[in-house]
C-alpha cells in the first residue's frame, strides 16, 4: 500500500517531468534551430550581398568602360570561391534568366536540388531556400538580383554549405536530449528519495496500525513530530485510548446485558424452580407432621428426619444450581465439556419441560473434545435456546427437542438444538438476532436473548445460524472452535 502510493507519486511526477522537460526541450531546440538557421541565412545573405555588390560594381564599371569586359567576372568568382569555402557553388544569370557565369559545369547547380524546390532564376527578388542537394548535401541557396532600382544586370544565386550547421544542430539535439534525460533522472531520483523520507514515518505509522490489537492495546512507539504526520500519530494514540475506554465500557455493558438476560431467564424458570422446591417442602412438611404425631417413636423420627434432610439437600442443590447460573462472572475461558454444560442447563429446566410435555432427545458425541470457552456464557446461550424452544411448544401441548453435539475433526464442535415448535415466520427470520426483537407477548421476553447469544458465540469465534419453518419447528446450529477465539 505504502510502496504503491510512493510508486504512484513517483510515476506521476516522473511522467509529468518527462512531458514538461520534453516540451521545454522541444521548444528550446526549435527556437535554437530557428536562430541558428536564421543566423546562417543572414550570414549567407550578408556574404551574398557583399559579393553581389562587388559583382554589381564590376558590371557597372564594365558598362561604363572602366573595366575590361573579358574575364573579369570569372576571375572575381574564382577568387571569391577560393576564399570562401562555405560557398559550394555560384551561378549568375543575365536579365533574361540565362546562365551568364557559373562556378562549375558539373551537375552541381540549382537544378540539382533533388525533390526540394530551389529558387527560380530571374525572379527579380532577394530570397533564400534550404534543401538537400544530391551532390552537395544540405544547401542554403540565396538569390540576389543584381539590380539598382529598376535597372537590372541579372541575378546572382549562391549555394552555401549547410552541413556544418546541421552537424551543430545534431550536437545541440543530443546535448539537449542528454541534459533532459539527466535532468529527469536526477529530479525523479530526488523525488524518490524525498518521498521516501517523507513517507518513512507514515510507513511506521501504517505498521503500527497493522499491528494494532484491540485485546492488547499498547502505547504507540513513534514520536509525534510537529508535522502533519506527527499530528496523525498523536491522534492515533488518542484514538487508541478512546477505543480502549469504549471497549471497556462496551464489555461492561455487554456483561450487564448478559447478566440481565440471565436473570430474565431465571424469571422465566421461576415457576419450575418453585415447583421443584415445593415438592421437597411438602415432603418435609409431611415428615414434620409425622414426627409431631409420634415424637417418641425414635426410629420413625429418625427416618423422617433423614427424609427431611434429603428434601433439604434437594432444595439446596436447586438453589445452588440457580445461584451458579445467576452469578455474575468475568469472562473466563477454560477447557470444558459441552455435553456436561448442556446437562446442567437441562437440570434447571426439568420441571418446565416435563410440565409442557416436552421430550428431550439427546444425541451427544461421547468423545467430544474439550471446548475452550467460558462455561457460564455457553450455558447462557443453551439456556436461551432451550427456553425459546420450550416457549415455542407451549401452545402445541408437547413436542420434542433434539440436542446434538459433534466435532467435525477440523477443530470445530457443532451443537444443534432443534425443536418441533411453532417455528419462525420467514419475514422475521432476518431479525431474530437484532437486539430487542421479540414476537412474544409483553413481559414474556426482553428481545435480547438471541442477540446476546449471537454476541457470546461470536466472542468465542463461532457462528450461530437458524433455520425455521412455521409450524414445523426451528433449528439453531452453533459452531465453535475447539481452541476458542483467536
Amino acid at each position: 500500500m505504502m510502496r504503491s502510493l510512493k510508486a504512484r507519486i513517483v510515476l506521476f511526477l516522473g511522467i509529468l517531468m518527462i512531458v514538461l522537460t520534453m516540451m521545454i526541450s522541444i521548444i528550446l531546440l526549435y527556437q535554437w534551430r530557428s536562430l541558428i538557421l536564421e543566423n546562417q541565412r543572414q550570414n549567407a545573405l550578408a556574404v551574398a550581398r557583399t559579393f553581389a555588390a562587388s559583382i554589381l560594381d564590376g558590371l557597372i564599371y564594365q558598362e561604363s568602360g572602366l573595366l575590361p569586359n573579358e574575364g573579369y567576372l570569372e576571375n572575381q568568382i574564382h577568387n571569391f570561391l577560393g576564399k570562401n569555402s562555405q560557398v559550394r557553388w555560384l551561378v549568375m544569370y543575365d536579365r533574361d534568366g540565362h546562365v551568364a557565369v557559373r562556378s562549375s559545369f558539373e551537375s552541381s547547380d540549382p537544378g540539382d536540388a533533388g525533390e526540394a524546390e530551389a529558387l527560380p532564376p530571374a525572379a527579380g527578388r532577394t530570397g533564400t531556400c534550404i534543401y538537400r542537394s544530391r551532390s552537395f548535401g544540405w544547401i542554403l541557396e540565396t538569390a540576389l538580383p543584381l539590380q539598382i532600382h529598376s535597372k537590372s544586370w541579372g541575378e546572382l544565386h549562391m549555394g552555401f554549405d549547410l552541413e556544418p550547421a546541421r552537424a551543430r544542430l545534431q550536437r545541440l539535439f543530443f546535448l539537449i536530449f542528454g541534459l533532459a534525460v539527466l535532468f529527469v533522472v536526477s529530479i525523479t531520483a530526488f523525488i524518490w528519495f524525498f518521498i521516501n523520507r517523507v513517507t518513512q514515518s507514515l510507513g511506521r505509522l501504517v505498521t503500527e496500525m497493522k499491528q494494532f490489537d484491540l485485546d492488547n492495546i499498547t502505547p504507540t512507539q513513534m514520536k509525534a513530530g510537529e508535522d502533519e504526520i506527527g499530528v496523525l500519530v498523536s491522534n492515533f494514540e488518542k484514538m487508541k485510548q478512546r477505543l480502549q475506554q469504549s471497549r471497556q465500557q462496551l464489555l461492561n455493558a455487554q456483561r450487564q446485558i448478559y447478566h440481565a438476560e440471565k436473570l430474565a431467564s431465571i424469571g422465566r424458570l421461576a415457576s419450575g424452580v418453585a415447583h421443584e422446591i415445593n415438592n421437597p417442602l411438602h415432603g418435609m412438611k409431611s415428615c414434620l407432621y409425622a414426627i409431631a404425631q409420634e415424637p417418641r417413636n425414635l426410629p420413625e423420627v429418625k427416618r423422617y428426619l433423614g427424609l427431611a434432610d434429603e428434601a433439604l439437600d434437594h432444595i439446596a442443590m436447586i438453589v445452588q444450581k440457580l445461584l451458579g447460573f445467576s452469578r455474575q462472572h468475568a469472562k473466563q475461558t477454560v477447557a470444558m465439556e459441552l455435553n456436561g454444560e448442556i446437562e446442567k442447563v437441562l437440570s434447571l429446566l426439568t420441571y418446565r419441560l416435563s410440565k409442557n410435555q416436552i421430550i428431550i432427545e439427546k444425541k451427544f458425541q461421547s468423545d467430544l473434545p474439550l471446548l475452550h470457552a467460558d462455561p457460564n456464557l455457553i450455558q447462557e446461550v443453551i439456556m436461551n435456546l432451550l427456553l425459546n424452544s420450550a416457549d415455542s411448544m407451549e401452545e402445541e401441548e408437547g413436542g420434542t427437542i433434539h440436542i446434538t453435539t459433534a466435532s467435525d475433526g477440523e477443530g470445530h464442535i457443532h451443537l444443534e438444538i432443534a425443536d418441533t415448535g411453532c417455528g419462525i415466520d420467514s419475514r422475521d427470520l432476518d431479525k431474530i438476532f437484532d437486539p430487542f426483537f421479540t414476537t412474544k407477548d409483553e413481559g414474556k421476553g426482553t428481545g435480547l436473548g438471541l442477540s446476546v447469544s449471537l454476541g457470546i458465540i461470536e466472542s468465542h469465534g463461532g457462528t450461530i445460524t437458524c433455520q425455521s419453518r412455521p409450524y414445523r419447528g426451528t433449528t439453531f446450529h452453533i459452531t465453535l472452535p475447539i481452541q476458542g477465539a483467536k
Binding site: 568602360g65 529598376s150 535597372k151 546541421r166 539535439f173
Partner: protein, 309 residues
C-alpha cells in the same frame, strides 16, 4: 510488479519513439523558397526608339550614380510615358562627347563643365536643383580631418591638397579663385592631385594621405561628424544643371521639365518619392536660364586669362 515494469517500459518506449520522431523532424531543415524583398518595379527597357538616354558626369562612382540617379529615371519614365535610361561615362569629357555624338540626349552636368561646354556644344540648361534650404545654389567646401591643425585656407601652405575632377567647380574654385584671395599660390602647396570622384577626395583626407580636400556641400554633409571638418565654404554657386541637346524634341523637354518641377520637397508624399534620389536632386528643381550662370562664368573666364602659378 511485472505490470508496473511493463507500464514503465511502455512509457519509456513511447517517449523514445517520440524523441526519434522529434529528431527526424528537427534535423529536416528544408524550407520553402522565401522572399526577403519583393521584386522591384518592372525593368525599364533598355534601348528603343522612344528611349531618352541621359548622361551623368562621373562625379561619383558608377554604382553610386545608379543608386542616386536611376530612381530619377524611373520617375521620369513613369510620369512622362517616355523611357529614360542612364548612360554613364568614364570621365567628364566623355559625357560631352556622348552629347556630341547623340548617344545621350540629356545630361546631368556639373556647373563648371556646363560653363565650358555651352560655349562650343549645342546644349541648353533646362533645370537646376534646389538645395536643402530650397535655394538653387550649392557650395564647394574645403575639408580637413577633425584632428588637423589646418584652420583656414591660409594654413594650406606646404600642405597636400586632394581635388575632384579638374572639370568640376570644386576642382577649380580653390586653386583658381580662393587661394589667390588668401595670398597663396598653387606653388605654395606641397602637392595637388585630382581624383575621379568627390567621395574619393574625402577618403583620401580621412586616410591622411592628403591634408585637405575640396568637395561639394552634399558630399561634405555625408561625412560631417564622421571625422572631417569644414574650414572654408564657397559663395553660392548656381546648382549643377540638367541640360538637353538643343535638337531634342521640345515635347520631351517639356515633359521632363514639367515632371521634375512637380517635385515639392515640402510634401510628405514627395519626400517619400525622392528618398532614394541623389541628395543633390532630392529637394526639387527650378527652371534654369543661361544667364543664371553668367556671373560665375565671368569669374572663371577672367581667371583663365591669368594662368595659375
Amino acid at each position: 510488479m511485472k505490470s508496473r515494469i511493463a507500464l514503465i517500459l511502455l512509457i519509456l518506449i513511447f517517449f523514445l519513439a517520440l524523441t526519434l520522431l522529434v529528431y527526424r523532424n528537427f534535423m529536416d531543415i528544408t524550407t520553402a523558397p522565401d522572399t526577403v524583398f519583393p521584386p522591384a518595379a518592372p525593368l525599364a527597357a533598355a534601348g528603343g526608339r522612344d528611349t531618352v538616354h541621359v548622361g551623368v558626369i562621373s562625379r561619383f562612382s558608377p554604382n553610386l550614380i545608379y543608386e542616386g540617379y536611376q530612381p530619377i529615371m524611373d520617375y521620369l519614365s513613369r510620369e512622362t510615358g517616355i523611357i529614360f535610361a542612364l548612360k554613364l561615362s568614364s570621365s567628364y569629357e566623355e559625357t560631352i562627347a556622348q552629347l556630341d555624338q547623340g548617344q545621350i540626349q540629356s545630361a546631368f552636368l556639373g556647373t563648371y563643365l556646363y560653363l565650358k561646354a555651352r560655349r562650343d556644344h549645342p546644349i541648353r540648361c533646362i533645370l537646376k536643383p534646389l538645395n536643402s534650404q530650397l535655394q538653387p545654389y550649392f557650395h564647394s567646401m574645403v575639408i580637413t580631418r577633425d584632428d588637423s591643425p589646418i584652420r583656414s585656407i591660409s594654413d594650406l601652405a606646404g600642405k597636400r591638397l586632394a581635388l575632384p575632377s579638374a572639370l568640376s567647380f570644386s576642382g577649380n574654385w580653390l586653386l583658381g579663385y580662393e587661394l589667390q584671395r588668401h595670398g597663396l599660390k598653387v606653388s605654395d602647396l606641397d602637392s595637388v592631385r585630382y581624383f575621379g570622384f568627390h567621395h574619393t577626395v574625402v577618403y583620401q583626407v580621412l586616410l591622411g594621405r592628403f591634408d585637405a580636400g575640396v568637395v561639394k556641400d552634399r558630399v561634405a554633409a555625408e561625412f560631417t561628424g564622421k571625422g572631417i571638418r569644414v574650414i572654408a565654404v564657397s559663395r553660392e554657386i548656381p546648382g549643377s544643371p540638367i541640360i538637353v541637346r538643343r535638337d531634342l524634341d521640345p515635347l520631351i523637354t517639356e515633359a521632363m521639365v514639367k515632371a521634375l518641377l512637380r517635385i515639392d520637397a515640402r510634401r510628405p508624399d514627395h519626400r517619400a518619392l525622392v528618398r532614394d534620389w541623389d541628395p543633390e536632386f532630392a529637394w526639387g528643381f527650378v527652371p534654369a536660364e543661361e544667364s543664371d550662370y553668367d556671373q560665375v562664368d565671368a569669374i572663371f573666364a577672367a581667371l583663365e586669362k591669368e594662368p595659375r602659378r
